[in-house]
Structures are given as structure tokens and as C-alpha cells.
């Protein structure tokens, strides 16, 4: 990293000894960004904003919250009623969880569409998957803290997954819960971890961004930066563009916080946890529904493996598979803009995920179409699950082999010229050209 010269002597003095100003200047001021980024490239910045807001509101809430089974629910109500602007903090935090997942899911699908997971950005992508896993853990444990009915029974269902592990399942579950049942020990450790994990996320985000600043951002054309004409400095161009996204996003978030604060929640969580009374339907938060559908889609034993264990494995695998995606994709062309077949199946995958989400919200034995007896939601769930894995394990490798990509532009600043651009070496079209 090059050292800068600063007019201010104090800044210069500090920078000579601790080059934070040079660093900030290099990474966030003059850092070259592809100039053709669209608004989907806002979502990384949006996720950062949510993460910081969640930590700030969370710390404030923790000052008033009591992690004890007899007091947790009441302390949350005290925050809502008696603490100055406690309702505001809690509604921002509770809806912030949903906003975080909306933003991150769009961020992930953007990466899928424009091939941001491909070389040389594989590690950025994998760190992103780690962040997603940490977020899921944090969100789940946070939802348990108010100690409402869904908190309690959600914790019951999720920790029960671990009993599916052969031989040692029961012991591991007891160890995780800290008790034979979900009780105060469980609540305490969830509170402790819910406070810890966001800071772990901050750490992984730092690596995510660090790795990003090695390769630079991908772009909608998915081609490499060829010359300085292709880029603009981060500041002011992307500080301005990200600000627009943040402004729009805050409107959406505020609309929920102020006008529909409980829309994304479940009414049952305003009933204090009752260990002896199970709610009619235990439903996770909306952002877990697709995974919940995959979990419940496997209702049959295979050989000596029980359905429950298989469901847990399938659910875990649905995320783990993202780690190897960079190596499953056989096409060297990144952006779906130039991959007609891949683009089609991208949209099918998105629809498949929506279907999984719907299945996750329904009772497994409800009929998808009334009157069609054999077509229950669990059947639809199984089909959608098979398709989900098929997309990554079968379609993605095959599409890369058989697809003829459209000609790539020669550079970001020079859009496709009449003769068509050159495809990167190793891509399907390049291979064909070599043969010809």
C-alpha cells in the first residue's frame, strides 16, 4: 500500500506511525470500482448498515433485558412500555433481523446471477456463506430471547435436530441445551452467544471485504477490468450511489418499524413460553421457511438412515453446497447476461426457493390443490428439494459444458462491437472456436 502525503501535520504524524489514513484513502476513497455496477451492488453496503444498526440497538436492548426464564418476557414488555423509546429500539431490532435476511438474500442471488462466486472471488463467496451461517445462528438465538411461545417451541424444535445424530445425539442435545429440557441454562447461553456472534460476524465481514479489495468488485458484464477507463474511484461515485440505496432501504425498514412492526412476527410470541402447551403450528421466522421445508421434505427412511437424520442432513447440505459452487460451475463466463441457458435456470431456482418458502409455511399434509389427494405440501416440498440440489449438482455443471455464451464485450467502457468480443479461454464458446 502506498503511503500518502497529507497537508495536515497531525494526520501526517499519525499516518507515518499508523497508516490508517492511507488505508482509508486507498480502500474507500480512491479504490477503483467498475463503473457499470447497477443497484444490486448496493446490497453489501446495505448489509453493513443493518449489521451496525443491529449491534447498536442490540447493545441498548441488552441493558434492559433480563435473561431469566421468569423475567425475560416481562423485561421485554417493560422495554416496550416503560423504557424511553424502548419500543423503537426493539421494533428496529426485531424488524432489522428480517431486513438483514432480505438484504443478504438479494446479495446472494446477485452473486449467483452475475457469477461473483467464480475465480478469482471464490474465497469472498465462501466467507459470505460463513456469514450467512453465523447470521442464521444469531437470528435463531435472538428469537428465543423474548421467551414467548414461538421462542420456546422454536428452540425445542431446533435443538431437537441434534437428537437425530446416531448414538451420541441425546448426549449432544443435552450438552447444547445445558439441561435435559429447554430451560434457564439454555436461555442464558443463547443470550451469551447472541451477544457474541454478531462480533464474530463483524470479523468475518472484515475478511470478506479484505478479500474483495484484492480482486475488486465483479460487475454486471462479469468481465475483468482492462484499463483505468473502466473504473471510477469509490468516492464520490459509489458513496453517492450507495447512499441512494441506503436512503430507499431505510424507507422500507422504517415503514415496517412504524406502521407494521409485528407484521413479520408471529402473534404467538406475545404469549409467554408455556412448556406444557404446544402451539397449534410451530412456524419459524419467514427467512428460515425454505430450509424448514427442506428439513421436513424427507419423510422416509433410506436403509438404516432415519428420515429425521436425513432431513437434518439435507437442510445442512442445502447451505454447505454453496461452499463448493465455485467448482461445480464449469463455465468461465461469469455474468448470466451472456449465458442464456444459465439465466433461464437461475430464475427457475429463484422460483424453486419461493416454492420451498411457501411449503415451509404450510402444514405438510395440506393439499396444494384442493381435491387432488396425492399432492400434499410435503410432496411439493420433496420435489422442490430435489430440484434445489439438482440445480447445483446436475444442471450447473452440465449447463457450463453445453451452453454457447453470447459474445462478451471487449471491455466495460467499450460495449459489444459488431464483431463480438472474445470469450475467456476455457469457456465453451472458446473451445468451439478452437475446434473450428
Amino acid at each position: 500500500m502506498e503511503k500518502q502525503n497529507f497537508d495536515n501535520k497531525v494526520i501526517q504524524w499519525v499516518d507515518d506511525r499508523l497508516p490508517v489514513f492511507s488505508y482509508m484513502n486507498h480502500e474507500y476513497n480512491e479504490f477503483p470500482m467498475p463503473k457499470n455496477l447497477n443497484y444490486f451492488w448496493n446490497f453489501g453496503a446495505l448489509a453493513t448498515i443493518v449489521l451496525v444498526t443491529m449491534i447498536v440497538t442490540g447493545i441498548v436492548l441488552a441493558m434492559q433485558y433480563t435473561p431469566h426464564t421468569t423475567l425475560a418476557f416481562d423485561s421485554v414488555e417493560r422495554i416496550m412500555r416503560d423504557v424511553n423509546y424502548g419500543w423503537l429500539m426493539r421494533y428496529i431490532h426485531a424488524n432489522g433481523g428480517s431486513m438483514f435476511f432480505i438484504v443478504v438474500y438479494i446479495h446472494i442471488f446477485r452473486g449467483l446471477y452475475y457469477g461473483s462466486y467464480k475465480a478469482p472471488r471464490e474465497l469472498i463467496w465462501m466467507l459470505g456463506v460463513v456469514i450467512l451461517l453465523l447470521m442464521m445462528g444469531t437470528a435463531f438465538m435472538g428469537y428465543v430471547l423474548p421467551w414467548g411461545q414461538m421462542s420456546y417451541w422454536g428452540a425445542q424444535v431446533i435443538t431437537d435436530f441434534f437428537t437425530a445424530i446416531p448414538f451420541v445425539g441425546e448426549a449432544i442435545t443435552t450438552w447444547l441445551r445445558g439441561d435435559f429440557v429447554i430451560d434457564n441454562a439454555t436461555l442464558n447461553r443463547f443470550f451469551s452467544l447472541h451477544y457474541l456472534l454478531p462480533f464474530v460476524i463483524v470479523g468475518v465481514v472484515a475478511f470478506h471485504v479484505m478479500a474483495l479489495h484484492v480482486t475488486g468488485s465483479n460487475n454486471p458484464d462479469g468481465i475483468d477490468i482492462k484499463d483505468p477507463q473502466d473504473t471510477v474511484p469509490f468516492n464520490p461515485y459509489f458513496t453517492a450511489k450507495d447512499s441512494v440505496g441506503i436512503g430507499a432501504f431505510l424507507i422500507v425498514w422504517a415503514a415496517f418499524v412504524f406502521f407494521a412492526p409485528n407484521f413479520l412476527g408471529h402473534p404467538d410470541n406475545y404469549i409467554e413460553a408455556q412448556p406444557l402447551s404446544t402451539p397449534a403450528h410451530i412456524v419459524p421466522e419467514w427467512y428460515f421457511l425454505p430450509f424448514y421445508a427442506i428439513l421436513r421434505s424427507i419423510t422416509f427412511d433410506i436403509w438404516f438412515l432415519e428420515a429425521k437424520l436425513l432431513g437434518v442432513i439435507a437442510m445442512g447440505a442445502s447451505i454447505m453446497i454453496l461452499f463448493i459452487l465455485p467448482w461445480l460451475d464449469t463455465s468461465k463466463v461469469r455474468s448470466a447476461r451472456y449465458r442464456p441457458l444459465f439465466r433461464l435456470f437461475f430464475w427457475v431456482l429463484l422460483v424453486d426457493c419461493v416454492i420451498l418458502g411457501i411449503v415451509g409455511a404450510k402444514s405438510p399434509n395440506d393439499l396444494v390443490i384442493s381435491g387432488v389427494e396425492w399432492f400434499e405440501y410435503k410432496t411439493l416440498g420433496l420435489l422442490a428439494t430435489i430440484y434445489y440440489f439438482g440445480h447445483f449438482l446436475v444442471l450447473i455443471p452440465i449447463i457450463g459444458k453445453i451452453e454457447t455464451p453470447k459474445p462478451l464485450p471487449t471491455s466495460i467502457s467499450k460495449p459489444v462491437t459488431g464483431g463480438g468480443g472474445s470469450a475467456p479461454a476455457g469457456s465453451a464458446s472458446a473451445a468451439k472456436k478452437e475446434k473450428a
Binding site: M80, F109, S243, G247, L264, P267, I358, K362
Partner: protein, 258 residues
Amino acid sequence: MHKITMKAAMAACFLFGATMTTTVANSAEMMSFPKKDWSWQGVFGTYDRGQLQRGLQAYKSVCAACHGLKFIAFRNLTDLGYSAAEIKDFAKTIEVTNKEPNDEGEIFKRPGRTDDYFPDPFPNKQAARAGNNGAFPPDLSLVVESRVGGADYLYALLTGYSEPPKGVKLGEGMSYNKAFPGHQIAMPPPLADGAVEYKDGTKPTVAQIATDVTAFLAWASEPNMEARKSMGIKVMLFLFAFLFVLIGMKRRTWANVH
């Protein structure tokens, strides 16, 4: 063309979110209840003070015999439009158990003070069940927030009592209620015409009392709702103006990039 794809994608993402949330909402909604026009609905909705005051009167004379309201303190009743003096007088009419023992070491009862909370009608859950044919009358502080259908459900429940349809056998001490999940409810019909004598002269029909109590309990579920909405309108006005400025700034910055 790229712009169009992007807009389509944006729309798809939005649709994704929307379907998800409505599915959750729909699947939770096992029964639907007739929608009533409540004064607090909508962005600008506020509570109707007269309605809340009548609701408090009805709660005190009808519901409070079996149902607690543990998150509401008498001091909170300023929200209903009462003065400090009125609340002081109201608190005195309710007997509460002192939390600390007296000098003789005995827990004692005394008239309420403004900082006291509404007392629970039963000393413990077992006593509550024993006094109610085995059923536990839930605390009502969050009843509107914690039931699918909210205020509409509560109103439908309070007005939903009838003779059981032919062929429906009720358990001992149970009543038929078309709004209650399973239609068998342990609570006997709580309201009757004239069950409350309203101070403001409103005619106390079952529908009227049910409306008032529902409004009062909606307030009890979320006493800060009015503060939330009025802040929300200001926040929204600011954010839209702010976004407008940001868009202008962005356009200016990018004007010479091609």
C-alpha cells in the same frame, strides 16, 4: 435491455418477499373474522378516548373478576385522558396486595396507588383453574397482540356466543363460540345487554360493550402506538426528502461518467 432485466429482477425480489410474508400471514390465519373499522387503524389512526374509558369501565366491572392486566399500571391510564387526580381516586377503589410485609412481618392489602399495577384476580394459577372449572383465564395485557386476527378476533369472540348447532355436544361447563378455535370455550358468555352502566350515557348493548373492551385491550397491548405512528410520519417525511436529496447528489456526481 439490461435495465429491463434489472427492473424485472428487482420486481422478482420484491415479489419473493411479498409472497413469503403473505404466505406466513395466510397460513397462520386459520379462521378469518369480519373486519371492523377500528379508530386506530391506518397510518394516522388514533385511539378513541371515549371508547377507551368505556372499555376500562367494562373491564373493571366485567372482565377483572377473572382476568388480570398485569402490564398496565394505574398511572398508564393518563393515556385514556384521565387527570392525575382522577387516576388517584380510581386507584383507591381497587384493593391491591402490598409487595413488602408490614412491620409485623405480614403481607397486607391496601387501597391502590397510582404506581400500582392492576392486581391479578387469583393468587396463583392453580387457584385460577380451581375457580374456573379447570380453565385458566389468561392475562389480557397482550390479548389483542397475541391472537391471530387481533381486535377483530376479540370482538368476534365476545359477540360469538350462541346455542350450539344441532349435533354438537359440549363438554361440561363449556359454551359454544363460533370465533373460538374448536368452538368450545370455558368462558361463559361474559357480556349481556346492560352489563355495564356507562357513565357517559352510552347504551350498553353487547356489541357496544364488546367494541369498547376490545378497544381498551388494544390500547393495553400497545400503549405506545400513537407515539409510534406520529414519529413514523415525521420519519417518513424526512426520509423521502432525504432520498430526494441523495438522488440529486448521485445524479450530479455521475453526470460526467459515460
